[in-house]
Symmetry: C2
Subunit: 469 residues, 2 copies
């Protein structure tokens, strides 16, 4: 053991090998629901030190769990007894090429830091989610992170042109292209993105940047039921030429959660409403277009009665206030215990149906449980939260399974954007195509034959596949 | 041998096992440059017959080469002595879901047929390339096809939500989701797309559709040099809110090639010009916006002298005429022999530089060789054609290597959109990251352990990797 630590110290320097009480920040995730003290936290300075650590770990058969911002919600970055490989020191923003609209960054660059640098050139990396102040590019890529702007800009996979990856045996795979067309063999880039560190450690990437919009209009919109919301989105897209960048749903229970954790905050409207939508439109050029489209669509919807109130942000401070509520989702969800926080998706015209049907099914299993949701409605992506009445593993598992089951019944997925990690191994085994699971295991074995990379996550064990269909 | 044929006939029916002279349409590609008579052409009716054929082939270790429209240019769909697995009978357009903007199609559906059906619902599958009247979805997916609209809509990978794949051993992998967010394990979909049949046979897919634009404006634009063209594209994007769907470059030599093969065709302009751009803008809504943006940008460019002539199509017939010239690229390129037809990409602001620098390098190797190009300028993707003075393999290889080398020198790629097949095995070995090549081989071996799927294509043999850098 101490020989291994000495060898690690020889690679990264003794001060960058943390053990004992010093590993505390890496012993649990942000939610506190997942725990696992690593053997040591190792903080390499660069790609070559990452490679050396992996060569050593591979030779000795020691598990390695990559961790960057540690903002995940599925236990994907914890590993009892493993080497926690922290990418935080790989934080160089190597280059922003404004003309080509690309950034070349290392895995430890924080999303907000990239955006601050890009903004100086009138550009942005358009991923938008609550943890962007601490989430790092390595984790963003490894989980194929989504968020509130996927509707317009796509998820992380859509925003990445090239990656640099250290394989399990320490070899470096250089796919750092900035090209938009490059059909030269298998798509290893998209294979590694979202692979949760199973196939290699991403150390750098070429990311797409977009122009900072010159025009942004943001509104809170009230409805009495969710059913007309997809139609409102379509009307906004049609009227604005697809200028909608966010279309977020917060039910009353979510607004109340925000009032609970930020007691001096304001209600979004004078009166409470069951459906609260955060709507944002943007355009690259200055102009009245998006604002006019928003106002005319809202006026028509109020005329026909589907929209009952609306507030358009008059300045950036008001806009920030609207977003602050939405971005507090994780804090709101985890404000109580016990809690089941999930991340499912259904076709977006089934979201209202889902929410109507899930409630009685959960109440039947646990009468009196608390229920709340928040949704990237434009993507059909629901973060559903359930507060069971009792902290019993069997009850928790049953409630979670119910949430997944209805998503699957509506042609959805049990895992939309947060990833699998530890928390979704059960539905992976239950619902994922068994041939696909076997193919994933074969690829994992091919690229990480000793199984040292983030073991126990993402892929349920062989033999757990569903059968009989 | 006859036992194998009998077993194949038992699966697909004797009439769908073609041998001898009946295989002629599958014995060579469209260019005639690649040849290889298959053992038999097998035409399964559906996925289950594909699976049965692969189970048989896998058990007996017989090579299987999938072929759909056979419109590829790289020899990827030919296999001397192999089972040619024709997907042409899997031609059911299972479903168009207009609200969800998706089509569920089988691999043998022809691109134009899909578009005809989508158009009835006001939608389109926005891949645009000359062979769309015979190219099938299976080949489009297996090559990650590109074309003239990638600038706006992305390549095939960006247009596919789900796939159904039969693995080498005959197992069916069902990834037929229509969801936009679905982080549930490795991205096997994007791995199979563009894999040229190495990892499995795609039998069906869920494809994204887009609204047919209500407004389309198309123009031919003349310039005296190519250097200001990227700036013109940026100006058009800025003025129109990114409404440019195509930005295609044809040099004078290309226009002359068209006049040669279509002698009664018209010149694009009254006078010949060295640079001829086909520019198209589109918007989902009816309106004057794209037309006004185009006219004002062209007026400004003519004022400053960068654009010397321009013709805007006044009706669909004129538009079709402009596109007919561009879409004849393959016929124009292959009108002479010997010919080297390539497909490289460089950053789009380096295209002019590339074309200036490649000419003397090729003339130095083969004084008097003919040179021509046509480019998806918005993607930096050049189809470069060289007509050597002699049909000598060594000379041909040297010219081809020169074309690739300069692309790599300018941070480009030796393979933009046509794929690798047989024709680019040499630059794959020379330029592709050797660790990436090894990773591809490991994945290939994991999913196709007997190596029956399209052997000899896509991946150069192990040991051919570059070394020493």
């Amino acid at each position: 053991m101490s020989e291994l630590l000495a060898a690690l110290a020889a690679i990264v320097g003794p001060v960058h090998v943390l053990t004992g009480a010093d590993t505390a920040p890496w012993d649990s995730d942000w939610t506190g629901h997942y725990r696992g003290a690593p053997l040591a936290v190792v903080r390499p300075a660069d790609r070559d030190e990452v490679a050396a650590v992996l060569r050593l770990a591979s030779a000795q058969g020691v598990a390695v769990v990559p961790v960057s911002g540690n903002t995940g919600l599925n236990g994907g970055a914890l590993g009892e007894g493993a080497i926690a490989l922290s990418l935080g020191r790989l934080n160089r923003l190597r280059e922003i090429r404004a003309d080509a609209r690309v950034a070349v960054v290392e895995a430890g660059v924080i999303v907000d830091a990239l955006n601050a640098a890009a903004a100086e050139q009138g550009l942005m990396f358009p991923l938008s989610f609550g943890a962007s102040g601490s989430a790092m590019i390595g984790g963003v890529l490894s989980t194929n992170a989504g968020g509130a702007n996927v509707l317009r800009y796509g998820n992380t996979r859509d925003l990445c042109l090239g990656v640099e990856v250290v394989l399990a045996d320490g070899r470096v795979m250089d796919l750092m292209t900035a090209l938009h067309k490059n059909n030269s063999g298998f798509d290893l880039r998209d294979l590694v993105i979202g692979a949760e560190g199973q196939l290699g450690i991403i150390t750098a990437a070429v990311l797409k940047l977009h122009p900072l919009p010159a025009t942004v209009v943001t509104a809170m919109v009230a409805m009495e039921t969710l059913d007309p919301a997809p139609g409102l989105l379509n009307a906004l897209q049609d009227a604005s030429g697809n200028a909608v960048v966010a279309f977020e749903f917060m039910p009353r229970s979510f607004v109340e959660g925000y009032l609970e954790i930020v007691p001096d905050s304001r209600e979004p409207f004078d009166a409470p409403h069951p459906v609260n939508l955060l709507v944002e439109l943007a355009a690259p050029q200055p102009g009245e277009g998006p604002g006019m489209a928003l106002e005319s669509v809202l006026a028509a919807a109020m005329e026909e009665g589907t929209v009952t109130d609306a507030v358009i942000a008059q300045n950036e401070a008001q806009r920030r206030q609207m977003w602050a509520r939405r971005e507090a989702a994780a804090e709101i969800s985890f404000r109580r215990n016990p809690v089941i926080d999930t991340d499912i998706a259904v076709p977006r015209d089934r979201v209202a149906d889902y929410l109507r049907r899930i409630e009685p099914r959960l109440q039947a299993r646990d009468p009196g449980c608390g229920l709340m949701s928040v949704a990237h409605l434009g993507d059909g992506n629901i973060h559903y939260t359930c507060y069971p009445t009792r902290d019993e593993p069997a009850l928790m598992a049953a409630l979670r399974a119910e949430i997944d089951a209805l998503a699957m019944e509506l042609n959805g997925t049990f895992s939309a954007e947060h990833g699998v990690g530890l928390s979704k191994l059960a539905p992976m085994a239950r619902y994922k195509d068994p041939v696909a699971l076997d193919a994933m295991r074969a690829i994992k074995a091919a690229l990480d034959p000793r199984g040292i990379l983030n073991p126990g996550k993402t892929l349920p064990p062989a033999g757990a596949n569903r059968t009989g269909d």
